[in-house]
């Protein structure tokens, strides 16, 4: 079979490469999936800091509009923050780039890039990814695209400012706003490279999962992390090309005078010649990626927590097949719901009703997942490691954000809350917080595997509790700001007496945001300190069943020193009756007469 040939080829190349590697091939242009995973993680941590600082700058403005801050002028200088007061154009630029970096560079590139690369070969018993070279290219495209995105912050006119959704005509006409000039071009170039990176990564993940599973690793014995990463990769492969075409058409409208998205526009004293295009077309194309993107961000986090909750509750994940089924249902439905972002764009109301129906359907598999997590905790034997805390935190944010999603999916209710702070609250909790909690959980849990060291647990606890409290402190009050009618992407609310009642909520949000952001210093310190000076890890610190914990602590090419491990059981045999220990590794053969599960 094809699978075995590839596996053999991998074996050969593994033997052929037993020489000392140079610094460049080991740390920079590495083909090794474990190194690439670390490269993604470190890049993502850096990008996350950029985006967090941006959010602090605009939160200061929202809480105390028009006041000067040394913090603001420290980062923006006199051009964009004269006297420390944020410029309105820069405000829009910051919310745009904050969103872009968080959604794409941290939660897509960072989350999938880190954990798909680390876990797919290790949990499936493969020597490496199907193509190490394409995997390396995937990282370097991601890196270059990050550099271009950061470079766009420094161009004349500022970076792209039309919101992370870059709706034309605002994004296509430099006359509409300064950020739609060079900044927007760089945004599009950066995203094009990012999409190339995501596609190369995604194809590699799917091919590896399909072909390089070790002997005995049936699809139904794969850990839920792998299932989630598989579905994520498939969704990405199907939806990112659509964003690519949307971006290319926009580029043509901007530079070549085409009219895909433009029609009947009179701007800056001039009637433009564009005719026959539709700005709504862009929204359809954008959200055809944009909504699945939510699940590209969320599914890996859900996969990671399924694994961590089961391991640390010392209890099999409840309803393994139902979990797979609901991931698949979510993945499938995610392609049929994009229109719920467009209820008030003038889209045909009947089409709107269809999207209401499909969107609310997603709530079913999502609630199944929540109930299954809760049942897994029930009568478990729970060890509250920092990773476990973040996983439980994810379930809490997934509940809070998922429920408000039901309100937003209802087109009738969306009329009043569309594009208000209610939406900001909803997606930051359900997508932002859940995904970032999943990422933190994954880092704490697999740190010993990535670096062979342990992170400091006490600092992990401090990090979790401050972050958890601040997450709700920041985003919970935003629901109320939204219900008062306050629109998103407003530079200031002081022009509207009707929002005076929620001024103190805005201040509260900013204070929580500052504390929450500072808590990330604890994490960053803990992470980098432990990489270099952390205590040495043992092979299987969490007494986990999956294959990655059967590899040696010191990383090696090919992952396992001897032959590849053989798998005999599913990964969730925790506290199985009749066993001496409360865990049974996947490589332990079934005893005579033992039921698989």
């Amino acid at each position: 079979m094809g699978a075995t040939t590839i596996a053999h080829a991998a074996d050969h190349s593994h033997e052929a490469h037993h020489h000392e590697e140079s610094f460049v091939s080991k740390y920079i242009f590495s083909h090794d999936h474990k190194m690439i995973s670390k490269q993604f993680l470190v890049t993502a941590i850096f990008m996350a800091w950029v985006a967090v600082i941006m959010s602090l700058i605009f939160r200061l403005q929202l809480a105390w509009p028009g006041e000067g801050f040394a913090f603001t002028s420290f980062f923006l200088g006199d051009k964009w923050a004269p006297g420390g007061v944020l410029d309105p154009n820069m405000y829009l630029a910051l919310v745009t780039i904050h969103g872009t970096i968080m959604v794409f560079f941290v939660l897509t590139g960072g989350l999938s890039g880190t954990f798909a690369n680390l876990l797919i070969p290790l949990q499936l018993g493969a020597r490496d990814m199907a193509s190490g070279f394409i995997n390396m290219l995937s990282y370097w495209f991601f890196f270059v695209s990050s550099i271009i995105m950061l470079a766009s912050l420094f161009v004349e006119g500022g970076p792209a400012s039309a919101g992370w959704t870059i709706y034309p005509p605002l994004s296509s006409l430099p006359k509409a706003m300064p950020g739609s000039g060079m900044g927007m071009t760089l945004w599009l170039v950066s995203m094009t490279l990012f999409i190339v990176s995501a596609l190369m990564g995604g194809l590699n993940y799917v091919v590896t999962i399909m072909n390089l599973r070790t002997k005995g690793m049936k699809m139904t014995r794969m850990p839920l992390t792998i299932w989630a990463l598989l579905l994520t990769a498939v969704i990405g492969i199907l939806s990112f090309p659509v964003l690519l075409s949307a971006a290319l058409l926009l580029l043509m409208d901007r530079s070549l005078g085409t009219s895909f998205y433009l029609s009947d526009i009179y701007i800056a004293g001039e009637a433009l010649e564009h005719s026959g295009g539709s700005p709504i077309l862009f929204q359809h194309l954008f959200w055809f990626l944009g909504h699945p993107e939510v699940y590209i961000v969320l599914l890996p986090a859900l996969g990671i927590t399924s694994e961590i909750i089961s391991t640390n509750a010392r209890k099999p994940i409840f309803g393994y097949r139902a979990m797979i089924g609901s991931i698949m249902a979510i993945g499938f439905l995610s392609f049929l719901v994009w229109g719920h972002h467009m209820f008030v764009t003038g889209m045909n109301p009947f089409l709107g009703s269809v999207f209401v129906f499909t969107t609310l359907l997603i709530a079913i598999p999502s609630s199944v997942k929540v109930f299954n997590y809760i049942t897994t905790l029930w009568r478990g034997n729970i060890i509250l490691t920092p990773g476990m805390l973040f996983s439980i935190g994810l379930v809490a944010t997934f509940i809070a954000g998922g429920l408000t999603g039901i309100i937003l999916a209802d087109s009738t209710l969306d009329i009043t809350i569309h594009d208000t702070y209610f939406v900001i609250a909803h997606f930051h909790i359900v997508m932002g917080m859940s995904a970032i909690f999943g990422m933190f959980a994954g880092v704490y849990h697999w740190f010993p595997k990535m670096y062979g060291k342990m992170m400091n647990t006490k600092l992990g606890y401090a990090h979790f509790w401050i972050t958890f409290v601040c997450a709700f402190g920041v985003f919970f009050p935003m629901h109320f700001i939204g219900l008062a009618g306050a629109p998103r992407r407003y530079y200031s609310y002081s022009e509207f007496p009707m929002f005076d009642g929620v001024v103190d909520l805005n201040i509260m949000v900013t204070i929580f945001a500052i504390i929450g952001a500072s808590a990330q210093l604890i994490f960053t310190y803990n992470f980098f300190y432990s990489v270099f000076r952390g205590p040495k890890a043992v092979q299987n610190p969490w007494k986990s069943n999956t294959l990655e914990w059967t590899t040696p602590v010191e990383h090696m090419h090919g992952n396992w020193p001897g032959p590849l491990p053989v798998v005999y059981r599913w990964p969730y045999d925790y506290s199985k009756p009749g066993k001496a220990e409360d865990w049974v590794s996947q490589i332990t053969p079934l005893e005579e007469g033992e039921e698989e599960h």
């Binding site: 420290f74 701007i267 010649e273 409290v469």
Partner: protein, 418 residues
């Protein structure tokens, strides 16, 4: 100096955390404790924190609801708005139950079943009956939500009745303009190529087409003569040639429009949309009569805007190149709302709710709901005045915001208006 101070504080903060962590690490190494061994004390601490957090979480939620319930939007001032509010409350009720049940279970279990050496977790890989139950339960609740939601949605988006007042809201960076039908009861056709200083909405009438064509001829001739009689740099010549070409193409399109217009007038006579524009009332004020169905047509001149009337529970995007619409029946006048909210300064506000540029945050216009007779009186006044004269002094100050925020756009505007 401040920058240096900030840096010093940050560095000192990091060092302090580092030292604390170091002390902790050395002591645990002395006690022979490994990082992955989570002690019973740690488990207990985090378990209790889970419970404590749950209590604080519910408390925070309750406090927000109680402290801010009067600061949310006041009672809906439109017929469908009342229905929207009812539906929202109905949904909240269902969601509150789900919220409380799931969170109580989650935090309770997380704190209760903490690790003990002497205990084994309960072996329960799956339970088909349970799983079926909690697939069906949300499915049936969602069915109710969907049915109620779509029921309202269909009514709200149904076509307006024939006797609805039809008026237009026109968006551009960064203000709103309203247009009401004149004595003939109909709104005239529009075309963006006819927009100029005296025709800000590009209303198409025989007169406005003729005026615009004459204006364009003048512009083209002026540019031509500059090209013919002045010595210019090559780049400037190219630029002007291109500009003149653009003007000629635009002129050709307007001539084309004139042909269509004349054809339509020939066929339909007075009923043609091209015959309605002359008496349209174009005004930077937004008045509506109470208890009268109104169909608002929404258009945009440049980028996407969104017509958001939170008090009316109304929102619809303004998209360049297409006309969108929303119908509603206002039920409360501005005066009654001032009594209800006990706020003498209360106004219904029309906001822009789609990011549209630097002054997006201040693109507003008050909506005045009056009795039918007051509305008639206002309309009579408005009809008497030509467009320029009716810009009232108390309009929200969009001008300073533009100069303050959108300098490049403003410069471009004067620069390219030939």
């Amino acid at each position: 100096m401040t920058k240096l101070l900030i840096l010093i504080v940050v560095v000192l903060g990091i060092l302090a955390v580092a030292q604390l962590a170091r002390v902790y690490e050395l002591t645990s190494r002395l006690r022979g404790k490994r990082e992955e061994d989570i002690s019973t004390a740690d488990n207990r601490f985090n378990g209790s924190m889970m419970w404590l957090f749950a209590i604080a979480y519910f408390g925070f939620f309750l406090w927000l609801v109680l402290a801010y319930k009067d600061k949310m939007l006041p009672v809906a001032a439109s017929e469908h708005g009342v229905e929207v509010d009812w539906l929202l409350n109905f949904n909240w009720l269902i969601l509150a139950v789900a919220f409380i049940i799931t969170n109580v279970l989650l935090f309770w279990f997380a704190g209760k079943y903490i690790y003990s050496k002497d205990r084994r977790a309960y072996w329960q890989p799956h339970n088909n009956k349970l799983e079926l139950a909690w697939t069906i339960a949300p499915a049936s609740v969602l069915a109710v939500i969907i049915i109620y939601g779509l029921n309202s949605w269909t009514t709200i988006t149904a076509p307006a009745s024939p006797d609805a007042l039809v008026m237009e809201l026109y968006a551009r960076q960064f203000d709103w303009t309203a247009r009401y039908p004149g004595a003939d009861g109909g709104l005239g056709a529009t075309d963006f190529r006819l927009i100029n200083g005296t025709n800000p909405l590009g209303i198409v009438t025989q007169e406005s087409v003729a005026t615009r064509l004459a204006e364009m001829d003048q512009e083209i001739n002026a540019t031509d003569s500059v090209l013919a009689h002045t010595i210019l740099a090559d780049s400037k010549v190219d630029e002007l040639t291109e500009q003149v070409g653009r003007m000629r193409r635009n002129k050709a399109r307007i001539i084309n429009l004139r042909t269509i217009m004349e054809q339509d007038i020939k066929e339909k006579g007075e009923a043609s949309a091209y015959m309605h524009g002359a008496d349209d009332v174009v005004i930077k004020e937004f008045h509506l009569p109470v208890r009268q169905e109104v169909k608002m047509l929404i258009r945009s001149q440049d980028v996407i805007h969104s017509m958001f009337l939170p008090h009316m529970r109304v929102q619809m995007n303004a998209v360049p190149g297409m006309t969108t619409s929303f119908k509603m029946v206002p039920t409360i006048t501005t005066d009654s709302m001032r009594t209800i909210t006990k706020n003498e300064a209360f106004d219904f506000i029309l906001l822009c709710n789609k990011i549209c540029g630097a002054s997006h945050y201040n693109m507003q216009m008050p909506l005045v709901i009056t009795t039918a007779s007051e509305y008639e009186a206002w309309m009579d006044e408005a009809m008497k005045k030509p467009f320029q004269a009716v810009v009232p002094a108390e309009m929200p100050a969009t001008e300073p915001a533009v100069t303050e925020g959108a300098e490049p756009a403003a410069v471009a505007q004067t620069g390219s208006s030939n």
